[in-house]
């Protein structure tokens, strides 16, 4: 049946990520249908010419006179019978990332495709694939009216027991695997894992976050890459570690690698946010706050020059942990540009807990709510 379909039907596959405007889309359709204005891979003619050429080709009306009037130069021989070839074969257009096509100018391509499919002159079917449920609102009025309003929703409607079954299926080795003995042991191990309490907990957590099978695949991939010749079977510990890697806070990881001076600046910003309720600050204010900490007698070890502190501040900006409120204008000085901190208090306190060799006075400064103590 499949082979029958592919021989009798012409297919055109378009993708919204690749064909970002109607001109490119049109050239791609012409290329895939191998129409006669294609030489090798190049498609000749302007957008309007291509469009009318394509529309005429898809309609049954023989338009021999029009064809001869197209002036592509001497490299083409017009086969007026090509209209017959197209007209006898149904064409299926598959549009992937359909929601990106609706952003093209005037939705010309969609309008024409739907128009042709409605006009019943050539058997043309248009199938759009998209993730957006509100796709109909994005269509223009005229395009929408030509749409047949046939929607098929593919939803993940399985429950948790089904999810565990899918987990088992994905992980099991197929029967064609060359080493039959190993495959058997592996599949037994998978069965054992699916009945293990801690593994079920991990899967439940994953299921609660997203039913998406891709995230399940990611979890399994993270667990699988620990399998080596010396560790041939997966254990529940592997899965738990994989779950931890999945739910890692990447900002906390970045904060983990900052220098002590940069951590002090973040704590100064935290105090400013606490006192002034999240109003934007500039470098001068942060430096001032930091100086209050430094000037207490025991902390003179942190007494760095202002340019050194500025370099640390700029490093934080480079890592996008702080962000300017508006674009840098050439006229304003960098010390006075208003910024926002992109970490919240809980993240900062958690990161400080994990920070290696954090000096105790810095940690105490972070937890104290009254900065003048």
């Amino acid at each position: 049946m499949e082979i029958e379909v592919s021989e009798n039907v012409l297919q055109v596959h378009l993708n919204g990520l690749l064909q970002i405007n109607d001109k490119i889309a049109l050239k791609e359709i012409t290329r895939q249908l191998n129409l006669e204005n294609v030489v090798g891979d190049k498609v000749f003619g302007s957008f309007a010419e291509n469009l009318s050429f394509l529309l005429d080709a898809l309609r049954k009306v023989p338009i021999v006179e029009d064809l001869i009037s197209f002036d592509y130069g001497n490299c083409f021989n017009f086969l007026w019978t090509f209209g017959d070839r197209i007209s006898s074969c149904p064409v299926i257009f598959v549009l992937d990332e359909f929601d990106l096509f609706v952003h093209h100018k005037n939705q010309t391509l969609l309008y024409n495709l739907f128009d042709i499919s409605q006009s019943a002159q050539t058997p043309v079917a248009v199938i759009g694939l998209t993730c957006r449920l509100d796709i109909l609102e994005l269509l223009e009025k005229r395009v929408k009216s030509r749409f047949s309003h046939r929607q098929i929703h593919l939803m993940n409607s399985f429950g948790f027991p089904q999810y565990i079954k899918i987990f088992k299926e994905q992980l099991s080795l197929p029967a064609e695997f060359p080493d039959k003995l190993f495959a058997e042991k592996w599949n037994e191990n998978v069965q054992r894992l699916s009945e293990d309490r801690s593994v079920q907990e991990v899967l439940q957590k994953q299921f609660n976050v997203s039913k998406n099978l891709r995230s399940l695949h990611m979890l399994l991939m993270l667990a699988l890459h620990r399998i080596t010749a010396s560790h041939p079977f997966m254990t529940s510990a592997d899965l738990m570690e994989a779950n931890q890697l999945c739910s890692m806070d990447s900002k906390a990881n970045i904060v983990h690698g900052l220098s002590v001076l940069e951590i002090c600046l973040i704590i100064a910003m935290k105090h400013l946010n606490d006192i002034y309720e999240e109003e934007p600050f500039n470098f001068q204010m942060v430096y001032n706050e930091f100086q209050k900490f430094v000037q207490r007698k025991a902390h003179s070890v942190y007494n760095f020059e202002k340019p050194v502190v500025m370099k640390a501040f700029e490093h934080l900006q480079q890592l996008e942990l702080i962000k300017p409120m508006e674009r840098t204008s050439v006229n304003s000085q960098r010390e006075y540009q208003l910024m926002k901190l992109l970490l919240d208090n809980t993240q900062i306190m958690n990161a400080l807990q994990k920070y290696p060799n954090c000096p105790t006075d810095v940690r105490q400064w972070a937890t104290s709510s009254l900065s003048w103590l």
């Binding site: 993708n15 919204g16 990520l17 690749l18 064909q19 970002i20 490119i24 791609e28 891979d41 929601d99 990106l100 993730c131 957006r132 891709r214 995230s215 990611m218 991939m221 699988l224 890459h225 620990r226 399998i227 080596t228 890692m248 990447s250 900002k251 990881n253 970045i254 983990h256 690698g257 900052l258 220098s259 002590v260 001076l261 002034y276 500039n282 001068q284 204010m285 001032n288 070890v301 942190y302 760095f304 020059e305 340019p307 050194v308 370099k311 640390a312 480079q318 890592l319 996008e320 006229n331 304003s332 000085q333 010390e335 006075y336 290696p356 060799n357």
Partner: protein, 434 residues
């Protein structure tokens, strides 16, 4: 090529993860891998070394160089065709859109040598991709699916993945974190490049001292290596001169410590170049006489220009209502309560300079200069020169009908130095220091 463990230090876990992801040559790898970590945490180095050692076909592109889409796509395609060019140089490929890229990529990878193995495209500094065309990042994440070929795209970046994710979702890559080096790891790596004339212990002691001074400020491996290389000759000086042995740690410490502190203020900040620093070390001059780049901003200004600048600073940092009190000879009674009300937060020195009209500048100028100043074209041209020197800045449009407004963009230290040269006590006139 020496074995991988000797070339790549302290990254065993990451290397084994990458190797297990790559799998066998002909296996399909995960379509996209995202590697993030601090700068100088080895991402580029490990990826390149691994791909070269295992001799996998790969293309390495740094997105900083690719300001337009075309540059990026053409670079990838040209480097790919170079990989399998057995005869001479093939012609430069022209590629303007992502659609053409996919088509040409499919053509190039049908060559025998590339068909059976995974091709890796490594995009360094991938954060620049976010600012290019919107379809580029999602397209590269799915390149394996779009081209239907055995290709894997590896993204290297400092910025975390959450800041890359497009609003409408995309294919999630495999995210791999390269942790920052611990202090032990840093010591190990830095000690690795000790010059052969000295013992490893001697160099390790030096590295300890260096890290002691710089570790709280900077953990960037590249900077630390640079500083280590620059300052080592100074450290060895007492040994070379015969004043101390290799084990006299106290003497060596006393010799190098002020030097390192000075380095933090100059070479670390790129105030002076490394060649200047090396010259200074050889000449053995007192490091206190170093003049960095910032010192050269103390340009010698003419007499009136200095006063114009001081007047501008006062106009920027004093609120207008206080001018009467500071600059009039007989200002009468000023209500104290309104005048002295100021919050610490609204201290003008924290918020930055405010703009002022030209008239106010001239009024303050006349009151602070002792002798009579005529408003000649000379004065106005000096104001314009100050704007050119970027000591003042023009606020608003050039052709404003109400008259130009300016802002003073110098720091307090700078203006105090200038005021000292004309014997003007600026602190007395500043509202924030009342």
């Amino acid at each position: 090529m020496p074995p991988l463990e000797h070339v790549v230090l302290c990254r065993e876990a990451q290397v084994s993860t990458l190797q297990s992801l790559f799998g066998e040559r002909h296996h399909f790898s995960f379509p996209s891998i995202f590697i993030y970590g601090h700068t100088a945490s080895g991402k580029t180095y490990v990826t390149q070394t691994l791909l070269k050692t295992l001799e996998l076909p790969h293309v390495f592109v740094n997105c900083v160089e690719c300001v337009t889409l075309r540059l990026l796509l053409e670079q990838i395609l040209n480097k790919l065709s170079y990989l399998n060019a057995s005869e001479g140089c093939s012609t430069e490929i022209i590629c303007e859109t992502f659609n053409d890229f996919v088509r040409l990529f499919k053509q190039i990878t049908t060559v025998e040598s590339l068909k059976t193995q995974t091709v890796y495209i490594v995009l360094d500094k991938a954060e620049y991709l976010r600012d290019m065309e919107a379809n580029l990042l999602p397209g590269f994440l799915r390149l394996q699916e779009l081209t239907d070929r055995n290709v894997t795209v590896i993204f290297l970046s400092e910025i975390i993945w959450e800041k890359f994710r497009p609003n409408t979702g995309c294919f999630e890559p495999f995210v791999l974190y390269f942790p920052d080096y611990s202090i032990g790891n840093l010591q190990k790596i830095l000690s690795h490049d000790h010059p052969p004339e000295y013992s490893a212990d001697f160099y390790a002691a030096y590295i300890n001292i260096l890290l002691g001074v710089f570790y709280t400020v900077c953990r960037d491996l590249k900077e630390l290596r640079h500083l280590a290389a620059l300052n080592f000759p100074k450290y060895c000086e007492p040994v070379v001169k015969g004043e101390a042995g290799e084990r006299d740690t106290r003497k060596l410490w006393r010799n190098i410590e002020p030097h390192l502190k000075k380095a933090m203020q100059t070479v670390y900040l790129r105030e002076i170049s490394s060649s200047q620093w090396e010259k200074l070390q050889k000449e053995d001059t007192d490091p206190g006489q170093l003049k960095g780049l910032s010192a050269y901003t103390h340009v010698e200004l003419p007499y009136y220009s200095k006063f114009i600048l001081i007047a501008a600073y006062l106009a920027s940092y004093n609120p207008a209502r206080t001018d009467k009190r500071f600059f009039l000879k007989h200002h009468g009674k000023i209500k104290k309560t309104n005048f002295l009300k100021k919050h610490e937060k609204t201290s003008n020195h924290l918020l930055g300079p405010k703009s002022f009209p030209l008239d106010r500048l001239l009024a303050i100028l006349y009151s602070i200069v002792d002798s009579r100043v005529a408003p000649t074209a000379n004065i106005f041209s000096q104001i314009t020169s100050l704007v050119t020197l970027q000591l003042l800045s023009l606020v608003g449009h050039d052709d404003q009908l109400d008259g130009p407004k300016y802002k003073c963009t110098v720091s307090l230290d700078f203006i105090r130095a200038i005021a000292r040269t004309v014997n003007f006590d600026i602190i007395k006139y500043l509202y924030d220091f009342l």
